[in-house]
């Protein structure tokens, strides 16, 4: 029992007033010496006893009335378990919000928070009267309401009868998703407000950890709704450690077939973490002893050789009370859409003479609205699919030749949505380029022509496409391509592939920049050098903007690409490549799912590696194999609880609502206002006083 205004309890001392009045009257009341009264009434016999009792009761009643009035002003309330508080004597519109996020799997004392929440919610639902409307909203991202529409009292939605909510809750298991408690509560408020019942309530069962309380509705948002908290959080912040991030990057300094796996470990405990992290990539594995201070985040690298066909790996810590965040999966080379791969076809020791000298400076230039782009430079012989899978665009700068598998990898890269900028130069041999690059350029290179070397003036740019994204934003005058002089350029064959177009021409009509759409991607060709060997373009103001526009355009030419790493519960788009009629998604559980159209795959409830293989009709070998990984939300691993139960739940139903101390882990309590009860008691005592006064 508690009081909203405990200082008003000082008024209890006013209860001494009736006693003082009694004592005063006893001293100063008129005295009548009358033995008859004492003999006949007040001495012996039941009447005397009864009258004495009545007077004592009358005095006690008056004392009680004054004391209770003081208690009334102190606004007493009674603490009751929240579960019991859901009980109602009349039908209610109740939305039960249950946090089924990953953190609810946390085990404490051999029992998970979810088990506690499920048990207590079931008990609360069991006490509801018939005709009540009940929704169950699961707060794991994205939140789900069951049923989604309003129910009708006495005529529930199909398959949602009076016993369904409790059964639904008892049959559910917690997910591994992040928490959207705020969204779930807002949805719950919307649902109960749609009810015609006047008694509208929301019961929120959650661990109320800090990571799930962002944007939680304020008390005003829940006006008219009795919102209560069912706190099943841990008594103290658990010592959870997790793997918060794993990134695998190529290690060209070691070899083209090596990757560096960087594992970030977060130690949420209060002791130094000394554990062994196990990293698996394909059939190979490595273990690294890691040490991390309390409350710290530590990064450790593991160098691993990349096996053929290895698409993803995993890093794992020994399990703790929350084992789901002790393992994290990673794609071998998560694509960075902004990153650019530059294949330097003519490396030079002298930096200024290096082929991509100007290109690298233009890509790394910090512009007004964007930072420099991350660039990786490799030699032609180092180029591998791993490099291509990590970037959004690639530049083949004056590359003399490539191996056939490298050419196929570049073609696949473009076809799957990537972009390639091809530039020519002294290393270009038309006779070999025609065979190798015929798959990327609109047409094979027929010849290299030009006006000779400097100081002979070359051709200037005569026409620029005003609609193409690469050139549309280039201005006129000094910032345009009109001042660019080109001394040598490549000439293509006359028969161009479908989907090709000219972006810019020289004044003599020869194409300077051409584009070919291949699959979901695009290939741009600058038919002169990217450095200053054949043109003064790198020295012109238009150089950097055009290079950046080209890199941006090529990276997004294929439209949004499916992500290689998603969180639990997120849909992942499965795209069928050209020629494929179906794909098979193999989740970690091993039960394949056949997909026949490009669509979102939603069965990502379990963390792990999901392998996607596309097949052509009548063939058993996959035309394309990829993988994506599903991980838990890193925020769910941060188990701090400093905010406690939101104030909205404490104040939503005014003085009658309340919760237990945050983080106690003990069952939350509800303030049951006792003012009406005390008021009734005062009225009863007033009535009793009147009756007793008549009998006294």
């Amino acid at each position: 029992m508690g009081f909203e205004s405990p200082w008003m309890l000082l008024g209890v001392f006013a209860a001494l007033v009736p006693l003082a009045v009694h004592m005063h009257l006893r001293r100063h009341a008129p005295v009548v010496v009358m033995d008859a009264v004492m003999r006949l009434v007040l001495t012996g016999g039941r009447t005397r006893v009864r009258l004495r009792l009545v007077h004592a009761a009358l005095l006690a009643t008056r004392v009680g009335i004054v004391a209770l009035v003081a208690v009334l002003f102190a606004e007493p309330f009674w603490r009751r378990p929240a579960g019991a508080a859901v009980e109602a004597r009349h039908p209610v519109a109740l939305a039960v919000v249950i946090d089924d996020s990953l953190s609810m799997r946390l085990s404490s004392g051999g029992r998970t928070a979810w088990a506690q929440a499920r048990s207590r919610v079931s008990e609360a639902l069991a006490g509801l009267p018939a005709e009540s409307e009940v929704w169950v909203v699961l707060a794991g991202r994205p939140f789900q309401a069951h049923p989604s529409g309003p129910t009708l009292a006495g005529r529930t939605s199909a398959g949602w009868d009076a016993d369904t909510p409790a059964r639904f809750v008892s049959e559910r298991n917690p997910s591994r998703t992040a928490t959207d408690l705020a969204g779930a509560v807002r949805a719950a408020a919307s649902l109960v407000r749609s009810s015609a019942l006047r008694d509208r309530r929301i019961l929120v069962a959650s661990d109320f950890l800090d990571h799930g309380l962002d944007g939680f509705p304020a008390a005003a948002d829940l006006a008219g709704i009795e919102a209560r908290a069912m706190d099943v959080g841990p008594a103290s912040s658990p010592r959870n450690r997790s793997i918060s991030r794993v990134v695998a990057e190529p290690a060209p300094d070691v070899s083209p077939r090596h990757v560096r796996v960087r594992v970030e470990v977060e130690n949420g405990g209060d002791q130094v973490l000394d554990e062994v992290v196990t990293v698996r990539l394909g059939r190979s594995g490595a273990a690294r002893k890691v040490s991390c201070p309390p409350g710290g985040r530590c990064s450790h690298e593991v160098l691993m050789a990349l096996e053929d066909g290895a698409l993803a790996g995993e890093a794992r810590l020994p399990p703790d009370d929350l084992p789901d965040d002790d393992a994290r999966f990673f794609p071998v080379a998560p694509r960075d859409r902004d990153a650019v791969l530059v294949v330097n076809g003519e490396p030079r020791r002298l930096l200024e003479l290096d082929e991509p000298f100007f290109l690298l400076r233009a890509l790394g230039l910090r512009l007004e609205d964007q930072a420099g782009l991350p660039v990786t430079t490799v030699r032609p012989e180092e180029l591998s699919p791993l490099h291509l899978s990590a970037v959004g665009a690639a530049v083949l700068a004056n590359v003399p030749s490539l191996l056939p598998e490298q050419v196929r990898a570049v073609a696949d890269f473009v076809a799957s949505g990537g972009g390639v900028l091809v530039t020519v130069g002294d290393q270009v041999r038309p006779e070999t380029w025609g065979e190798i690059w015929g798959a990327l350029l609109p047409a094979p290179i027929r010849d290299v022509v030009g006006a000779g070397g400097p100081p002979d003036p070359g051709e200037t740019v005569g026409w620029v496409s005003p609609d193409h994204p690469v050139t549309a934003r280039l201005g006129a005058g000094a910032g345009s391509l009109s001042t660019v002089e080109v001394r040598r350029w490549a000439v293509l064959e006359g028969s161009w592939a479908q989907g090709s177009q000219v972006v810019a021409r020289l004044r003599n009509g020869a194409p300077l920049i051409v584009e070919r759409r291949i699959g979901r991607g695009a290939a741009l060709a600058l038919l002169t050098s990217i450095d200053a060997d054949w043109t003064d373009f790198p020295l012109r103001p238009a150089y950097a903007p055009l290079v950046r526009q080209a890199a941006s355009y090529l990276a997004t030419a294929g439209g949004p690409r499916p992500r290689a790493s998603i969180e639990v519960g997120e849909p992942r788009r499965i795209e069928l490549p050209e020629g494929a009629d179906h794909a098979v998604v193999t989740p970690p559980s091993g039960s394949p799912v056949r997909v026949t159209v490009t669509d979102d795959y939603t069965g990502t409830a379990v963390p792990g590696v999901y392998r996607v293989e596309a097949f052509q009709a009548g063939r058993t070998d996959a035309v394309r194999a990829e993988a994506f990984v599903v991980n838990t939300a890193p925020g769910e691993s941060v188990l701090t609880r400093e905010q406690g139960v939101p104030a909205a739940l404490a104040s939503a139903d005014g003085p009658a609502a309340g919760t237990a101390r945050p983080g106690s882990g003990s069952p939350p309590f509800r303030k049951l206002a006792l003012v009406p009860h005390v008021l009734v008691l005062v009225l009863l005592l007033l009535l009793a006083e009147a009756v007793l006064r008549g009998k006294a």
Binding site: H22, L25, R26, A29, P30, V31, V32, V33, M34, D35, A36, V37, M38, R39, L40, V41, L42, T43, T47, L51, R52, H55, R693, G694, K695, A696
Partner: protein
């Protein structure tokens, strides 16, 4: 009840003497007096009042033969006549604490003493013997019955000296009366009977059985009969010192019910014992009450209309 004035003037003022001067107290009991008086004696005597006929026996006075009866029956009968003698009266005054309750300008004790004084004055004037017994907290104070006129002063002095005490020995006083009242006469008790009336009534019942005319003057004030109090009142008992702070308005119903029950029980018990029971109205003068009681007793009414 010490009074600076002459006790006789206080208890028996001239107005009372004048009012009672023409009255006689004839309770109708067959008295066993020592001298002749106004009251019929239980013995045959020389009065003019015929008693009965008796068969003549040897030794009877032949002057008493009723010749008319002899002529009719041819047998000898002797006429006998009643004797007339004086009366022995014992006046008992209850001087308990409850009798000190003031009402109408005087206490119940003073009112009762005045009534007994008036009665004593009337009886002494008609030659009866009057004795007084005052029931105090300790041993009773008794004045033996005498028939001389000067005895009135002793009677008045004894009555005037009575003061309300905390308790009373009314039952022991009446037992003494039982012991000393050897001859048939009158016993008058003036009391409120609030203390041990059952024991007192046992003694009175014994006296009545012996042939005494027993009269109870139930002295209660008008306040005790009507309970006119209002508001919060501290009631206190003079005898025991007990007190109780009560709401008089709420208490009134209980008191009146208890009082009626008490008076009914006393009246019924007196009636069954052959005791004259007279409630005394203190609003009227004591001599008026005495006169009414004397008339009622003479008429044989066990109670008097109030």
């Amino acid at each position: 009840m010490a009074h600076p004035k002459e006790p006789g003037l206080v208890l028996l003022p001239d107005s009372a003497r004048r009012a009672l001067g023409n009255l006689q107290f004839r309770p109708g009991v067959l008295a066993e007096g020592r001298v002749s008086g106004l009251h019929p004696s239980s013995h045959q005597g020389q009065s003019l009042e015929f008693s009965d006929l008796k068969g003549y026996a040897s030794g009877d006075d032949p002057r008493g033969v009723d010749w008319k009866v002899y002529a009719r029956t041819d047998k000898l009968y002797v006429r006998r006549y009643l004797d007339e003698t004086n009366l022995e009266a014992h006046l008992v005054l209850d001087a308990s604490g409850s009798m000190g309750h003031p009402a109408e300008g005087r206490s119940k004790l003073e009112h009762a003493a005045s009534m007994l004084a008036g009665l004593a004055w009337v009886m002494l004037r008609q030659g009866d013997e009057v004795g007084v017994h005052v029931a105090h907290e300790t041993d009773p104070v008794s004045t033996p019955p005498r028939a001389v006129a000067s005895h009135l002063n002793e009677v008045l002095a004894a009555l005037g000296a009575a003061e309300a005490s905390r308790g009373t020995v009314l039952d022991r006083t009446l037992e003494r009366v039982v012991g000393v009242a050897g001859r048939k006469g009158v016993v008058v008790l003036a009391s409120d009977l609030l203390t041990g009336w059952e024991d007192a009534l046992s003694a009175l019942r014994l006296l009545a059985a012996r042939g005494h005319a027993v009269v109870v003057l139930h002295v209660l004030s008008h306040e005790e009969r009507t309970f006119p109090f209002r508001g919060t009142v501290l009631f206190r008992a003079a005898e025991t010192g007990e007190s109780a702070l009560m709401d008089a308005r709420g208490l009134r119903r209980h008191y009146l019910a208890a009082f009626q029950r008490f008076e009914f029980e006393v009246r019924t018990a007196c009636h069954r014992a052959g005791v004259f029971f007279f409630p005394v109205d203190m609003r009227s003068a004591p001599h008026e009450g005495v006169a009414e009681v004397m008339r009622a007793v003479a008429a044989g009414r066990r109670t008097a209309a109030r």
